[in-house]
Symmetry: C2
Subunit: 384 residues, 2 copies
């Protein structure tokens, strides 16, 4: 298939490009370089050394030949780009991905929602005009749902969940509506706004899309130095398991926010690539808007911290855990039972050995120990 990846220079984008070309697909990429700029803005840096976008393009060209269709360095928000191929699939990963970044102040909140929501809205209009048959694979987040005190279906309210009682008898027909979102940051809300805009574009124009409610990704991929993903561990762009691993290596206590009972879906980066590939290779019908809840399993913060400590110990590193005041506003003990059946039905075989994954990750990161910037890890942005 011919696939355009928006955000090809990012954490998932570059690994996905390599993964898809290894499978024989053709890939065209777009990126504005803004992820690098944002990490630099907050004082961070990828733990893995990062070749320039052009060097990455050179590697892809030398490695995959004709399958590599080029990278265009363009502003994605304002739709200041052409997609110079007729793609079967457009994978949209080009968004500001950090919740705390969106909660810093009004400027960062407005940039997060402006860039994400308007960038996707522009893309939808471009698809309507030029690629109405292409499949939009859009990266959302499990965080769109928040942590309601009920089961979470995949996208829409299922028929079997509703009874038929009382004054609102007709509400039994609420099935099929989008399951209500209760997001916990302006970043997460930007993904909710995206979901609603995309659903409307499918309903109104007949576009088709897979909206991925992804859990928290961790890990490092790449068969050689030139294929390595970027790896962030700062308070803004470092996801929690990645951050814990770096703290263990740096000899800093793992900082668990609050009580640590917060439960979320998680998946290794390689599972994310596997799942995205399944979505790409199994497109929805014309006009269909579908939601995948994409994660391997759910874990509490406390259990993840323990997993990282055990992994470190097996490598001879003595790591400790510190509970700190929670900078976020979130439930620290709560019900959490999200459905995630659709990807399994399409062949997703999850990596279930999370302990093994984490231990491997720590060992892969060890060579970069000297590059760790300790000052950027501890959280400074507070929700309230």
């Amino acid at each position: 298939m011919k696939i355009a990846i928006l955000g090809i220079d990012g954490y998932i984008g570059y690994s996905l490009a390599n993964h898809l070309m290894k499978r024989g697909h053709s890939v065209y990429g777009l990126d504005s370089g803004i992820r690098r700029a944002r990490v630099e803005e907050i004082g961070g840096d990828s733990l893995t050394p990062l070749p320039s976008i052009y060097k990455r393009g050179e590697y892809l060209y030398n490695t995959y030949g004709d399958r590599y269709l080029g990278i265009s360095y363009r502003n994605i928000v304002n739709c200041d780009y052409n997609i110079n191929i007729n793609p079967d699939t457009i994978v949209h990963l080009a968004e500001q991905p950090s919740a705390p970044y969106s909660m810093k102040d009004s400027y960062h909140a407005v940039r997060s929602q402006g860039d994400n929501v308007l960038g996707t809205l522009n893309l939808l209009w471009k698809m309507r005009e030029k690629f109405p048959k292409a499949h939009l694979v859009k990266l959302g987040t499990m965080g769109e749902y928040g942590t309601p005190n009920c089961d979470i279906p995949e996208g829409r309210i299922p028929a079997q969940c509703l009874g038929n009682s009382g004054a609102y008898q007709c509400l039994c027909s609420m099935s099929g509506l989008l399951f209500p979102r209760t997001a916990g940051s302006f970043y997460h809300l930007s993904k909710v706004h995206d979901s609603l805009n995309i659903e409307f574009a499918c309903r109104n124009w007949g576009l088709c899309s897979t909206d991925i409610m992804q859990g928290v990704v961790f890990g490092l991929e790449g068969e050689n130095e030139q294929e390595l993903t970027r790896f962030d561990y700062d308070e803004y762009f470092g996801t929690v398991i990645n951050r814990f691993c770096v703290q263990a290596i740096a000899g800093i206590p793992l900082t668990v926010y609050g009580a640590g009972g917060q439960t979320r879906g998680y998946l290794p980066l390689k599972d994310s690539l596997h799942c995205l590939t399944i979505a790409i290779e199994n497109p929805p019908k014309e006009g269909e808007y579908r939601t995948f809840n994409q994660f391997e399993n759910i874990y509490t913060l406390n259990s993840l911290a323990d997993t990282v400590v055990r992994g470190a110990k097996s490598l001879g590193i003595d790591a400790s855990i510190e509970h700190i005041e929670n900078p976020r506003n979130e439930e620290e003990h709560h019900y959490y039972n999200p459905d995630h059946q659709k990807l399994f039905d399409l062949g997703y075989v999850p990596t279930t050995d999370i302990q093994g994954e984490v231990t491997t990750l720590i060992s892969k990161l060890l060579p970069y120990k000297d590059r760790i910037r300790k000052a950027v890890i501890y959280p400074k942005t507070k929700w309230r």
Copy 2:
């Protein structure tokens, strides 16, 4: 009370300012003049002659003295303004209000969502910093809900509507979550995005807000020429009853979009002022986010067209009705049963004589017959 009105120069804003000062409240206004610019952009003009914003300010100053706290001519989207009072209430009416305008092309869609969503987001941050105790009265729309095949509650899913059955047993706890929105244009979606952002700001920061899901407003208010509201009748900014009345006066057939079974909530402008005043004078608790469904009653397009024809006939005008291809993408026969009890509980006495209202409106508009621009009424923007 001290009240700041954002969008004081608009259709509702200017009437509301007069109404509130007549009741003894103090009013400070902000406006960027963008509504005038947008109507000019699409070739329209208010049917009623419009004094400049400064003339309006002069009138308010001369009429209400100390209760008039000034008007500031400022960009509202970028939050390029100070609110030079310590308001008890901030009424936010400063948004792009037209669905077809948002569906013209990508530029207008992005402007609509950018201006509305980011303007409100900026306001929320400003309130957090400067006016955390003020009550935000925000104008949303009944169109946020769309036309689901079930009853529509006021904002959240009520407890009594959910049974307890089947695999998703826990979904009986879905009560309290926001009722899912299924909006029908990028404009309507901008209001949904606003609602979600505001709900989060209340939940996270303890702001309080009344989010008004308003029906379609019609009518003309003002006790003299200087108090008169603007009155739009073009395809973009003219709401349907107002447009029908102008078509009747102009001797053009009333253009019903499609079959005409489309059902929505409607209310006269004076009822809107009445309801907004109730919301202002009965603020929610600190940290509370509440939703009012604000309309007098529900009507089909066909019944409204008949009402206008009857009203015109009683004034000696022979009006006709034409069904034209629906430029929008909407159900033309559908279930519609939205709740709207909260405002009644707080004392809203609705104007139930819609025929009388419409007939009076036509007679008030007759003196402006020569100002009608016939070319701007027929719909040119299509949803698909």
